[in-house]
């Protein structure tokens, strides 16, 4: 075990993956000598050479197109998109190509080796174009896996899991936690499973579902709520697609209440899917409407970011509203 922040944990995961399998490659804008604008790929070029860790020209659609081809060939590309806000030029390569490669070819070809890493989310005064949370766009795309870690330990284990998973994975990293989330992380090679949510905290009155940086926010709200004797169960979804319906449904069958929280705008956010599925699965057990605490239905602001965000106070109020319904 070592104390690491999330960036170090990610760097460690990449290092581990590259050391263990020479087919693993890391590339993207500024990921070479510089180690990426957040330094997630620090020292990898120095250690594994320019052929396996390198800068690409500034073209996201090319990065992912190139990565798809590499994966089809049998390499294990880990492509970085500098900010999740800049993943959209590659949307076609991800949604029409990565996601459908295996299906359309009847499994003759696949890009299962592909992992796409991108820092996402708000809370760093990044404004309009350095704050978006686009997970829901990808979660509507069968064939992809979408993964979001909540802390350093999870980041390393899930990233190794993603790299070794035989499906294309979009791995969103909560950049607000890059340096803020520090914890004990095994230096050994370990993987956390994709497709499995984790019950982070057990409770009996209400189930709270979130992922990534929002888990911390939810935990703050829970602390407030528990002082008022509301017993909260907190679930980190971890994998957004395919998501772990069973774990959430079982929890709601027990608590009778559900709140989902994410930074992305309300409308069409992944919270809608969770709510829609769970209201059907747990209809007779629900004691109050499923609540969603999310970003506003606006583009991401800057000066009023604090007001925009689904912070712990908003979550806390929604918990209260749910239990007092």
């Amino acid at each position: 075990m070592a104390r690491m922040n999330m960036l170090q944990a990610i760097n460690h995961a990449l290092d581990t993956a590259m050391a263990a399998d020479e087919r693993v490659l890391c590339f993207g804008e500024d990921v070479g000598v510089f180690g990426g604008v957040f330094r997630a790929t620090s020292n990898l070029q120095q250690k594994y050479g320019k052929a396996r860790c390198f800068n690409t020209p500034l073209v996201e659609q090319g990065i992912i197109g190139f990565a798809n081809g590499l994966a089809a060939q049998g390499s294990i590309p880990v492509a970085e998109i500098q900010f999740a806000d800049y993943i959209f030029p590659a949307f076609d390569q991800i949604v029409n190509e990565s996601a459908k490669y295996r299906y359309r070819s009847g499994n003759l070809f696949n890009v299962g080796g592909l992992t796409i890493r991108a820092p996402y989310g708000g809370g760093i005064a990044g404004g309009h174009y350095h704050s978006q949370s686009p997970e829901a766009y990808f979660a509507h795309t069968p064939g992809l896996k979408v993964v979001v870690p909540r802390n350093a330990h999870q980041a390393k284990g899930l990233l190794l899991g993603a790299i070794r998973d035989d499906n294309p994975v979009v791995f969103f990293e909560p950049k607000r936690l890059y340096r803020a989330s520090v914890g004990d992380v095994p230096e050994s090679d370990y993987q956390l499973p994709l497709g499995e949510a984790e019950v982070v905290k057990e409770g009996s009155d209400i189930t709270l579902v979130a992922w990534g940086a929002q888990i911390e926010v939810v935990e703050q709200a829970v602390e407030m709520a528990e002082k008022e004797r509301v017993s909260c169960e907190v679930i980190d979804l971890r994998t957004i697609l395919p998501w772990d319906v069973e774990t959430v449904a079982n929890s709601v069958l027990k608590t009778g209440r559900l709140l989902v929280s994410h930074e992305a705008p309300l409308t069409g956010g992944f919270g809608a899917e969770v709510a829609a599925t769970i209201q059907a699965r747990c209809f007779l057990y629900l004691e109050s409407p499923i609540a969603r605490v999310t970003g506003l239905d606006t583009p991401f602001p800057l000066a009023l970011e604090k007001e925009y965000m689904p912070d712990h106070l908003k979550v806390y109020e929604a918990i209260k509203a749910s239990v007092e319904f």
């Binding site: 659609q61 197109g65 190139f66 081809g69 190509e97 009847g106 696949n110 064939g143 395919p242």
Partner: protein, 394 residues
């Protein structure tokens, strides 16, 4: 980065590159003889005949399948007609283990590599033997055995993928390259630009073969780009380029052979622009008469690449009228017989709806399939293709 910087200038001189036009490489004339000063590439008789037979097969397949589409037996078809030399000449210059990432009009390359008539038909009819499990429209072939990556409809996406594939080949050090085919229309996509740039920067053994066939559906090249063709774009990436008469199989073969050597031996990507013409409609859904003239078509029909090679072969004494007749007949028969077999085969199993989305069927998909089965069991008549698979319970 070896040549010295050119002189500075002190008066503003703008250029659009018109001084630097790219010539067209040609070897074979329409009458089957070589241009003066031209030398035929070294080609063994067997190989030359393999190439020619692939051309004829492609032509026969196209004719028969278009007819089948017209008869309502097939939903959709796309012809390679007119472009056989560009496609087969280039494929023949490769090692069969080199990888092909094509657009959709390159069945000739697949035929050259030995895709069987059965394999063609199974895909076209999306039956239970289709490798693609009936998920894509006709002509979306793929073959791992033949290193032919399954066709994908979104245009140009395969071009940067070919660069990535070839980068992997370079790392693997297996001495192979990737060729990617695309139309002059697809070359307008952003993915084309990304691909050429990345290939040049990362020194990737990839060959970009642009079939400039004059049209993207109804859009003529003059509305596709202002330059004479796609070739001068290579200059923007300091990539080697050669423009070739796409109806001249010898020139295409030789250009690709030279390009392949640069790609594989020096890791220098090459762009080849094959000047040709789409003699047929864009697809079986298209009628070109509303956007181009019969006269233009006729002029290009005169340049038929098949006839040109046939004449060359005949001149060499490698081919006769008799051979031609026999070949045509046997291929026609084979295509028709195989089609009859393929169209009668059942569709892929119901399970194939949910397999291959992921490496393993997820619980949610298994559940969706179960619900679907239960539903079909209730209404077997409404789902004739799959009712028999679910009745009897499971």
């Amino acid at each position: 980065m070896t040549t010295p910087s050119p002189e500075d200038v002190h008066t503003p001189m703008l250029t659009d590159g018109d001084e630097f036009r790219i010539p067209t490489y040609k070897l074979l004339q329409q009458d089957g003889t070589l241009y003066e000063g031209a030398e035929a590439p070294h080609l063994e008789r067997d190989k030359a005949l393999r190439m020619y037979q692939a051309m004829v097969f492609t032509r026969v397949l196209d004719e028969r399948m278009l007819a089948a589409q017209r008869q309502g037996r097939l939903s959709f078809y796309m012809q390679c007609t007119g472009e056989e030399a560009a496609v087969i000449g280039s494929a023949a210059a490769l090692d069969d283990a080199d990888v092909i990432m094509a657009q959709y009009r390159e069945q000739g390359a697949l035929a050259y590599r030995g895709f069987t008539t059965d394999e063609f038909m199974n895909q076209l009819f999306g039956n239970e033997l289709d490798y693609g499990k009936g998920r894509q429209m006709p002509v979306h072939y793929g073959s791992t055995r033949l290193n032919y990556v399954t066709i994908s409809s979104p245009l140009a996406t395969q071009i940067p993928q070919a660069v990535g594939y070839a980068y992997g080949q370079k790392l693997a050090g297996d001495g192979h390259c990737t060729i990617t085919y695309f139309g002059e229309g697809a070359a307008s996509e952003g993915d084309f630009h990304a691909a050429l740039n990345m290939a040049a920067v990362h020194k990737v053994p990839v060959i970009f073969l642009c079939r400039n066939n004059g049209y993207a559906i109804s859009t003529p090249t003059i509305e596709q780009f202002a330059a004479e063709g796609v070739a001068p774009r290579a200059f923007g990436y300091r990539m080697h380029v050669i423009r070739v008469d796409g109806n001249d199989i010898l020139a295409v073969y030789e250009a690709t052979r030279v390009a392949r050597r640069m790609a594989v031996e020096d890791n220098r990507p090459v762009l080849i622009e094959a000047m040709t013409y789409r003699l047929a409609g864009h697809s079986s859904s298209d009628d070109p008469s509303s956007y181009r003239s019969k006269k233009e078509e006729e002029a290009w029909r005169e340049k038929d690449p098949l006839l040109r090679m046939q004449r060359w072969l005949t001149d060499k004494g490698w081919w006769s009228e008799d051979d031609e007749k026999r070949l045509q007949e046997s291929m026609r028969r084979e295509v028709l017989d195989t089609m009859k077999r393929a169209e009668k085969r059942p569709p892929p199993p119901l399970e194939s709806l949910v397999t291959d989305v992921y490496d393993e069927v997820t619980p949610a998909l298994a559940e969706q399939l179960d619900q679907l089965k239960a539903h079909i069991r209730k209404y077997p008549d409404a789902y004739p293709k799959s009712a028999s698979q679910v009745t009897g319970g499971d």
